[in-house]
């Protein structure tokens, strides 16, 4: 779900064009042939495990690091050849911000406003405006090094917003925040997105990104492994899925039976039933599974496909990306009653379902 409603159509010229971005640290390949576009007004989530190359990619985007190969253009400017032009278009909020000794929140904002070229009353106005927006006005006279993590993150965001940049690149902005600060921060990001800002956010809190972003980029071991909306990530036919099955009294033989079926795994069970992971979760395979269970005489009273959580999809993508040339996943075929399985290529017959199953 996105809060942004005014992003440009994808066929317009992208604000950011990343092509074949590659970066080595010594012999370690940190970023490997990364390519993507960001259009104006989009809110993009950037997801990956620790050390996947998120921060390195972001730092190259804002011209703080040099790529070994590939190119980045921001607003049409090459980030290597024209770093100053790129830096003017980008607001960068690092995961850890540095503090200055002997400086208050207002002095900090005032210094950066000066550094961004604001003068006189215009500077004063801009600082006040941003401090109001980020709710920092009450903290104006507080020394920087006496701020909580949440306040610090708001200050850091405020500094990033001072020059009103076209693109905001936020690296783990909600990391280490308590739930209240996280909600406040999320609201700020939503407001920015509603204002039409282009945001590129990395985070580990996937559910939050899901609520804020138009699309998501998954990076693993330096490679982009998925780019699309959260829906596109979850709705991936033919990929693993979880079904919830409830019984009118859980049969003792059910778990034993599943071990004989290829591509099935019970990973959670309770008094009422089980959660079953299907290696290939298509309508056909679900139908076949249900038919098989009914045929075996299991008293199924509830059968439904669980909504894929983003975290599960993320873990799934990571596990896939770590197996570069994995063979096709095993598909469920009921082993106990092979004669009942539909012939390959034939249309599956809708099952006669007990009440409540879907």
């Amino acid at each position: 779900m996105s809060t942004s409603t005014n992003s440009e159509p994808p066929n317009s010229k992208p604000l950011v064009e990343v092509r074949g971005l590659t970066k080595y640290f010594g012999k370690l390949l940190a970023v490997n042939q990364v390519s993507f576009d960001i259009h104006r007004g989009q809110v993009i989530g950037f997801i990956g495990e620790n050390g996947a190359g998120k921060t390195t990619t972001m730092r190259m985007m804002v011209s703080l690091d040099l790529p070994d190969y590939g190119s980045i253009r921001v607003n049409g400017y090459d980030a290597v050849a024209y770093p100053n032009e790129v830096r003017r278009a980008v607001g960068w909020m690092p995961d850890a911000y540095g503090t200055y000794d002997f400086m208050t929140v207002f002095e900090y904002m005032d210094f950066f406003a000066r550094a961004y070229g604001f003068k006189g009353s215009e500077r004063e106005m801009r600082v006040r405006e941003v401090m109001d927006f980020t709710d920092l006005t009450v903290l104006a006279d507080r020394p920087m090094n006496k701020l909580s993590k949440g306040m610090g993150q708001r200050l850091c965001l405020g500094r990033t917003l001072l020059p009103d940049p076209d693109l905001l690149v936020l690296d783990e902005p909600a990391a280490g925040l308590d739930p209240k600060a996280r909600i406040e921060f999320k609201n700020l990001v939503r407001l920015l997105a509603a204002q039409g800002k282009t945001l590129f956010i990395s985070s580990h809190i996937l559910s939050e990104l899901e609520q804020m972003c138009d699309s998501m980029l998954f990076i693993s071991q330096g490679r982009i492994v998925h780019h699309g909306t959260s829906e596109s990530l979850k709705v991936r036919e033919g990929h693993p899925g979880v079904v919830r099955i409830e019984f009118d009294g859980l049969p003792d033989t059910f778990q034993e039976w599943t071990t004989l079926q290829p591509g099935l795994e019970v990973f959670d069970s309770d008094k009422k039933g089980v959660r079953l992971r299907m290696e290939t979760c298509t309508p056909e395979s679900r139908t076949a599974l249900l038919q098989g269970m009914v045929r075996e005489g299991f008293p199924v009273c509830e059968f439904h496909l669980e909504e894929v959580r983003l975290e599960d999809a993320f873990v799934d993508i990571l596990s896939r990306s770590s197996q570069p040339a994995a063979p096709p996943a095993a598909t469920y075929q009921p082993a106990a009653a092979p004669q009942a399985s539909p012939p390959q290529g034939s249309e599956p017959t809708p099952p006669d379902l007990p009440g409540g199953a879907s």
Binding site: L66, Y97, Y100, F111
Partner: protein, 464 residues
């Protein structure tokens, strides 16, 4: 909301610096010492004596130590502190250039030093009322203290851009060691009144002005050096650094020529040495915007492109002028050209070796310095061996070792020896060939980018 015209870094540094413990300690410490020195003056005056030697020595030593050591020491962490605290990158993303950052840091420290010196002025006036005080001399002394403090602070700011804590500490250590007799110098130079050191060394007004000019150029160079270390690779800092170097060398050689001061050509050589080493250790950045047709001045572009390739051309260019300066200063000395040719081989030798053995290496300044140090040590050892053994083959081989020749050529007999001449020339040819092989790829890339930049449609080139 005042001070819009000030560099934002200066405003920030002043806000922080004036509240910092080190400044407060220096300020209060100086006030306490000044009061103490006044007590010493008054006791000298009330005991009926008119010899203020000790009082003067104490007064200027205290002022000198704070302005020449304590305040410049703060500069050694100026830029590094920002790097360490993760704040430098945030500043980079503003409209502030690396030069503004480096210059702002330096200026803020100088303003603080000036504040300290201004706080000394009332005591100066008090001393004046005690009599036998040369106020003009005192003010000149303060000016020189400030100038030297500015120079040392600029050096500190330049070095503070290094990320290596160890190297910075080594530099501070050697600096403190080399200044071990500064308190003694300050004390005895000012024993009889205002400090006479600079006045004795530079008797004429032209000398004073020249001294100030050279110091200003050195300050500019050090601050620019600091900026070049933290600057993004797409900025050409080789141009301003080398230009300052050329102006400095030109000023020293011209002044030496006009005034007949021979040692200035040697001083020019030593002033250029760190710049030449820095140039030869710079990586070549094949970023098209650096080879833009507007930058650097046409006709001299190949002297000012960043990187070691143009650094070699710059070395050759500078060597010609150094040779002319040395010939002019010491016309009676034979074989001066051999010393300069050998100097070229000596400087390029590690670059040729490192880049031929490991062409992909990015930063080789530590390797360069280590190799030079190793070669000089080896040369010293071999020369000593040769002196002891008088082994003919070793004696012959040393002629082909630029670092050994560097020492041997101080001996007039060697400079007129045909074997030495042959050795110097053969070494120069060999080193040149090796350098050519090391540089050909980078050179070809630079030529290609220069050609691209000449095309009218070369607006926003991609990185190569």
């Amino acid at each position: 909301m005042t001070g819009d015209r000030f560099n934002p870094i200066v405003v920030k540094e002043m806000r922080q610096g004036l509240k910092s413990k080190s400044f407060l300690a220096a300020f209060l410490g100086l006030q306490a010492l000044m009061l103490l020195s006044m007590i010493i003056y008054f006791s000298a005056a009330t005991t009926g004596g008119d010899d203020f030697g000790f009082s003067n020595g104490f007064f200027w030593t205290m002022v000198g130590l704070i302005t020449l050591i304590l305040m410049p020491l703060r500069a050694f962490s100026a830029i590094y502190q920002e790097t360490k605290d993760n704040t430098l990158e945030l500043v980079f993303l503003t409209h502030l250039t690396s030069w503004k950052i480096s210059f702002g840091k330096w200026l803020a420290l100088i303003i603080q030093t000036s504040l300290l010196l201004t706080a000394v002025l009332p005591y100066l006036v008090l001393r004046y009322f005690l009599g036998t005080i040369d106020l003009t001399g005192d003010l000149r002394t303060i000016l020189y203290l400030l100038l030297f403090s500015m120079l040392f602070t600029a050096f500190g700011v330049g070095i503070s851009a290094w990320k290596s804590k160890l190297l910075r500490r080594l530099i501070i250590f050697f600096m403190v060691i080399s200044m071990w007799n500064l308190p003694q110098f300050l004390f005895f130079a000012s024993f009889g009144g205002a400090m006479r050191g600079p006045g004795v060394m530079l008797p004429g007004l032209a000398d004073h002005l020249m001294g100030i000019w050279v110091m200003l150029l050195l300050m500019l160079y050090f601050v620019e050096y600091g900026a070049s270390v933290i600057a993004p690779p797409a900025e050409n800092h080789a141009f301003p650094k080398r230009l300052i170097g050329l102006v400095l060398m030109g000023s020293l050689l011209t002044y030496g020529y006009i005034q007949g001061v021979n040692w200035l050509s040697i001083m020019a050589f030593f002033c250029m040495l760190p710049l030449l080493v820095d140039n030869l250790c710079e990586p070549v950045m094949l970023i098209p915007s650096l080879y833009n047709k507007r930058m650097p001045p046409p006709g001299f572009r190949w002297l000012f492109f960043p990187g070691w390739v143009s650094g070699i051309f710059f070395l050759l260019f500078v060597s010609v002028f150094l040779l002319l300066g040395l010939w002019n200063a010491y016309p009676a000395v034979d074989g001066m050209h051999l010393m300069v040719f050998n100097f070229i081989s000596l400087m390029i030798f590690p670059v040729a070796v490192v880049l031929n053995l490991n062409p992909g290496t990015g930063k080789w300044k530590p390797a360069y310095i280590a190799m030079q140090t190793g070669c000089v040590t080896l040369a010293g050892f071999l020369i000593a061996m040769n002196e002891v053994t008088h082994f003919n083959d070793l004696n012959f081989l040393l002629r082909f070792f630029p670092h050994a020749n560097f020492f041997l050529l101080f001996d007039p007999a060697h400079r007129t020896d045909p074997q030495t001449s042959a050795g110097v020339f053969v070494t120069l040819i060999l080193v040149s060939v090796a350098t050519f092989f090391a540089m050909r790829k980078a050179f070809a890339g630079m030529v290609r980018l220069c050609r691209q930049a000449r095309k009218p449609d070369a607006v926003i080139p991609a990185r190569t």
